[in-house]
Subunit: 361 residues, 2 copies
C-alpha cells in the first residue's frame, strides 16, 4: 500500500527501513501441485487427532484457561524423544520464533555473526530486526560450507544443516571443528530438515557449552499448520531464551499445539516410517530428474536443488506453474539457475517428471 510521508511519521524510524521476509506463496488453486514450501506429503500421526479431540472434551471447556506458559509436557515429550533432559529444551511458536529469540538472546555482540552467503533468507531479516551485525561467508564452488572460513573474529555463527535451499548436509566432524574453533561464541545449527538423512548435532549438546540446535515439527512431523519449533542446548543457554521469551509473550503455544505436538513426539514409529518414505521418494525423484538432464545437488532434505544445463531456471518455474505445479525459484546471485523442489509422494513426483519430460523439456 501507499503510505504518505505524513502518515509515516507514526512509525518507529527503524521500522520504516525493515525489509520483511516473504514466505513461499500459499495459493488456493484446484488441482495445484504445491512443491514450493517443503511441506510433508503425508499426514501427521493418527495420534495427533486423538490428542486434539481430548482438548475438545466438555464443549472445549479447557480453552477457557491459559495454556501452561512453560509447555512442560511438550518439553518433556521432546526431551524423551531427543534423549536429553527437559531443562535442555526450549519451545516456541514455530522454529521461526525460536530463531528470532536466538538472534536476540545471543547475537547482539560487538562483532558480526557469520552465516553462509546462501542460506535461509530469514536470517538477514532477523539481523535487521534486532540490529545484529552480520557478515556472510561464501559457500565453496560446490555450495558446501567450508568450516575453515569461519575461523575469524565473530559474534556467533548460524548455519542451516542441511542447508537451505542447497539441501547439502554438513558432517558432525565439521560441526565439531566449528564448535571447537569458536569456544566463546554461540554456534547455532538450524536443523529444520535434519530428519531426512543428515546427522543431528543434538548428540553434541552435552559436550559443547556453546551449541544451540534448532528444530521444527513443520517438516518431518507434518505439523506445519501447528507452529511448534524447539531448541536444544545446555541449561545456561536455554535460560537466555526463556528470559527473551518471557519478555515478549508468556504463552506462545496454544493448548491444541501442545497436545498435538506431544502426541507426535510419542509416536516414534510413525515418524521413522514416514521420514524413510520421504527419503525413498527423494532418491527416486533425483534419479528421474537426472535422467531428463537435470543436475541435482546431493540432498539430505525433503527438497532438492536442481539445475538444467540447457534451460533457464526462471523460465522452467514459469512453465511448470502454467501446468499447475509450483516450485520455488530464487532470483539471487549464484542460485538463479536452480529450482528448489519439495519432495512429494511417488504420484506427485511422477506428475512433475512427466510434465517436464512431455510438455516442457
Amino acid at each position: 500500500m501507499n503510505i504518505s510521508n505524513q502518515q509515516m511519521r507514526f512509525w518507529s524510524p527503524e521500522v520504516r527501513e525493515l525489509e520483511p521476509y516473504v514466505p513461499g506463496e500459499q495459493p488456493k488453486i484446484q488441482n495445484l501441485l504445491k512443491l514450493n514450501t517443503n511441506e510433508n506429503p503425508y499426514p501427521p500421526s493418527p495420534k495427533v487427532v486423538a490428542a486434539v479431540q481430548a482438548v475438545l472434551a466438555d464443549g472445549a471447556d479447557a480453552l477457557r484457561l491459559y495454556p501452561d506458559p512453560d509447555a512442560s509436557a511438550l518439553k518433556q515429550a521432546i526431551a524423551t524423544q531427543q534423549h536429553v533432559d527437559a531443562s535442555q529444551v526450549f519451545v516456541g511458536n514455530g522454529s521461526d520464533e525460536v530463531l528470532a529469540h536466538i538472534f536476540k538472546a545471543f547475537f547482539l555482540q560487538d562483532q558480526p555473526i557469520l552465516s553462509p552467503d546462501i542460506s535461509y533468507s530469514f536470517y538477514p531479516v532477523y539481523s535487521q530486526f534486532f540490529g545484529v551485525n552480520t557478515k556472510t561467508v561464501p559457500l565453496n564452488e560446490q555450495f558446501e560450507v567450508e568450516v575453515a572460513d569461519y575461523q575469524q573474529t565473530n559474534g556467533g555463527i548460524i548455519i542451516a544443516n542441511p542447508n537451505a535451499p542447497t539441501s547439502i548436509a554438513l558432517s558432525l566432524d565439521k560441526i565439531e571443528q566449528l564448535l571447537q574453533g569458536n569456544p566463546d561464541r554461540v554456534v547455532v545449527i538450524d536443523e529444520a530438515y535434519v530428519d531426512f538423512g543428515a546427522e543431528s548435532a543434538v548428540a553434541l549438546v552435552n559436550k559443547y557449552e556453546n551449541l544451540v540446535v534448532c528444530q521444527t515439527t513443520s517438516k518431518s512431523r507434518s505439523l506445519a499448520g501447528l507452529r511448534v519449533g524447539f531448541a536444544i542446548a545446555q541449561p545456561h543457554l536455554i535460560a537466555a531464551l526463556e528470559a527473551v521469551k518471557n519478555s515478549f509473550n508468556s504463552y506462545p503455544i496454544d493448548r491444541f499445539a501442545i497436545a498435538a505436538a506431544v502426541a507426535s513426539f510419542e509416536d516414534q514409529a510413525y515418524f521413522a516410517e514416514h521420514c524413510q518414505k520421504v527419503i525413498d521418494c527423494r532418491e527416486q525423484l533425483v534419479a528421474d530428474l537426472t535422467s531428463v538432464g537435470f543436475k541435482v545437488l546431493p540432498s539430505k532434505a525433503n527438497f532438492i536443488f536442481a539445475t538444467h544445463p540447457e534451460r533457464d531456471a526462471g523460465e522452467l518455474a514459469t512453465e511448470l506453474r502454467a501446468q499447475g505445479i509450483i516450485v520455488r525459484y530464487f532470483n539471487k546471485p549464484r542460485i538463479n539457475q536452480y529450482l528448489r523442489i519439495t519432495v512429494g509422494t511417488t504420484e506427485q513426483n511422477q506428475r512433475l517428471v512427466d510434465t517436464l519430460k512431455n510438455q516442457i523439456l
Copy 2:
C-alpha cells in the same frame, strides 16, 4: 537457575539485564478455585468445537500445510464483527504478541512514551525489551486516568481501558481528548477487558489516524487457551505492524486457532449472552463483598479490585490460598492493600464470599 559469569559470556549483554514478565500462576491442584488470571468461567461458543473438528477431517491432513500467513479469514471475521474493513485488522499470537509488535512499530521514538503508573505490568517489560524510553504518569487518588496529565511531550501513549488491575474504565470523551491532544503520536488503547461494560474506542478508528485499539479473544470469548489477539487501526498503522510481524514470524497463528476464532466471531449471540452473564455475576459479587466490609473499585472488567479497611491484603491472599482459592496480589506501591479477583460463576463467587465470611474475616 545459577548461571556462572563464565557461562553468561554467551548471552547478549542487553539480555543479561532483562526482567521478564511473570504471569499469574497456573497450579494443578484439585478443587482449586482459580480467580487469579481473569479467565472466563464459561466455555467458548459450541461452534468453536465444530470448527476445530473440521480441521481434523481426513486424519488432520490439513496440518501438513502451513496456515495462511495473513490469516485472512480471521481478519475478515473480526472486521465483520467490529464493523471495520479487513484492511484495518492486525492479528497476532495473543494480545501480548500484538502489544509487543506495537511497541516496536510505533514507540521507538526520541521522546518517552507515557503510561499510567499502575497498569498492565507487561508494558515496562516490552519497553526494556525493545529499548523504548518510558515515563509513567500517576493515576489520581481514585485510581483514575487524568487525561490532562498526558499533555506533555511524548513518543506515544498506551492506556489499558478498562485499566488493569484497577478495573476502572475511561470514557470515549476522555479518549478523544487524548487523541486530539497528541495528533503526531500513536495512542494505543488496550481493550483486553472492554466487552464487560466499557465503551470501545474502535468506534473512533475511522476518525483518528493516530489510534490503535488492541483486543483479545482470551477473556470475553473464553479462548485464553488459543492465543489470538488483534489490533484495529487505519491501514497506514496496520502496515507498520505487518512489517514488524513479517520480520519476526511469518505464520504466528495456527490452523486450529484461525478456525476456532473465526467460529467465535461468527457467534455474536453467544458472545453477547455470556458477556452479560459475567457482568451480572460481577454486580452480585461486588454487592456481596461490600456487605462483608470490602471497598470495591467501580469495575467494567471481568475482575474486581478490592481492599478491606481492617485486613492486610497480602494476608488475605495467603489465607484464601490455604482454603483453595487463588486471587492475584501485587506487592507494589499504592496497590499493596488490594486484591484483584476474577469474576467467576454464581457458585464460584458464592464459595469465595462464604469462605471470606465464615473462615477468614
